[in-house]
Symmetry: C2
């Protein structure tokens, strides 16, 4: 059951792209595969003539591109976030190769408020650790080990091609009823845990930063549904009440 409107549920996000040519080439790449939504985080030089030249027949994608100052602002309604990453990180994150997307994609697209974000990093330095930790999954495009640095718009082309192939072959359940929590709701839950931990002086232990990151990763991997999120937040509120009474 293929629904062309499925592609509207995707958003391609370029974080601080330096070269306007890459923005235009990325716009053309996603439109070639039937996608329409492009967001730019703090682009170095945009709007720019070279971007529109390289976009060819995809100038509409550039004209409708949304621009944000920070990645988190672009992710607010996201229900599933993939970040592209070439390097291996100190704290390992759930990682998919480009050909393994279908498994998580199908589930995400069955929710009524599905919004899948694909996040691409800077040409030279990629995504920061903080940005990568906003993602549910990291995607690693398989490359030759000795030469792994793919041009930004080419990475966008590979991912949008793989997504098109996946979406065109996905067999969705007819009822799209369950609602997924958004990035913002997840952030509230992560913050809530953090607040409670702070109140409990949990943070006085060694290496507080790692603890917070690991809690973040745990919740990202857990992917609680709306009801579960409610339960967890209720539980946290209860702890807070107890703590307040004690003081």
């Amino acid at each position: 059951m293929f629904d062309s409107s499925l592609k509207n549920k995707f958003n391609f996000i370029l974080v601080e792209p330096s070269h306007p040519g890459n923005i235009g080439a990325a716009a053309r790449a996603i439109k070639n595969m039937g996608f329409t939504n492009l967001s730019l985080i703090n682009p170095k030089d945009f709007p720019n003539e070279d971007a529109f030249y390289r976009a060819k027949g995809a100038k509409d994608i550039l004209e409708n591109a949304k621009i944000y100052e920070k990645l988190s602002n672009a992710l607010k309604d996201a229900t599933l976030i993939f970040g592209t990453s070439a390097r291996t990180r100190t704290i390992p994150w759930p990682t998919k190769t480009s050909s393994e997307l279908s498994i998580v994609l199908k589930k995400a697209l069955e929710s009524s408020n599905a919004k899948v974000c694909l996040v691409f990093g800077r040409e030279i330095s990629g995504l920061s650790n903080e940005e990568l930790q906003m993602c549910d999954y990291h995607i690693k495009i398989p490359t030759d080990e000795d030469f792994s640095s793919i041009n930004l718009s080419h990475a966008v082309q590979i991912i949008s091609y793989v997504l098109k192939m996946e979406i065109d072959s996905i067999d969705l359940l007819p009822e799209m009823e369950n609602e997924s929590p958004t990035f913002q709701e997840n952030e509230y839950l992560i913050d809530h845990f953090d607040q409670v931990m702070k109140k409990m002086d949990f943070y006085d232990q060694e290496n507080p930063k790692q603890v917070k990151t690991r809690m973040r990763r745990l919740i990202k991997r857990l992917k609680p549904d709306k009801l579960e999120t409610g339960i967890l937040r209720g539980f946290l509120a209860k702890i807070e009440q107890v703590l307040n009474k004690k003081n």
Copy 2:
């Protein structure tokens, strides 16, 4: 059984590319996926600074790129030829989507003299009918119906990505003994049929050009092995003898 030297059996061929930037970006794209061989047919502007700039760490691919005047010269040793094509042609040709490559690829790679060529057309006009008819298969990269014109280097990136994924997962038979006829040997066979048909006045019938093209397509699809090629050419020689006696 993956053998990294398999990738040396591939050759990416760009026919009359106009933009040197695309040549550089294509070089980077194939190196990202572990390929090394690039050939250029009559490039408009090469060597060129912009090509080397866009190649980044793949300058060696450009330095070693082979340049030919005509596509047929670059194909001489080829045992399997794919040509990229967006349009549907008057005479339909065996066509594979990018995800269907594996079926024909495996068989080709099992021959001891395997040389697989991927042929990409001009930025604006693609490959000519004559060039497309030199190919064993046409590849159609699936795109959005309303916006199918993919940037040249992006098309190279998609195909090289798909090939890498296929090659990395192919399970080759250990003995690579059977030898495939090359493009040139096939051309001799096609020409031989043509000569015999002319001698028989087969060409005086309506629409001679279509007949020749259809014979070409038939032999391309047949993919005779060396022995079969020998039998067919023996048969043609025999017909010639008979014709000569008659005259």
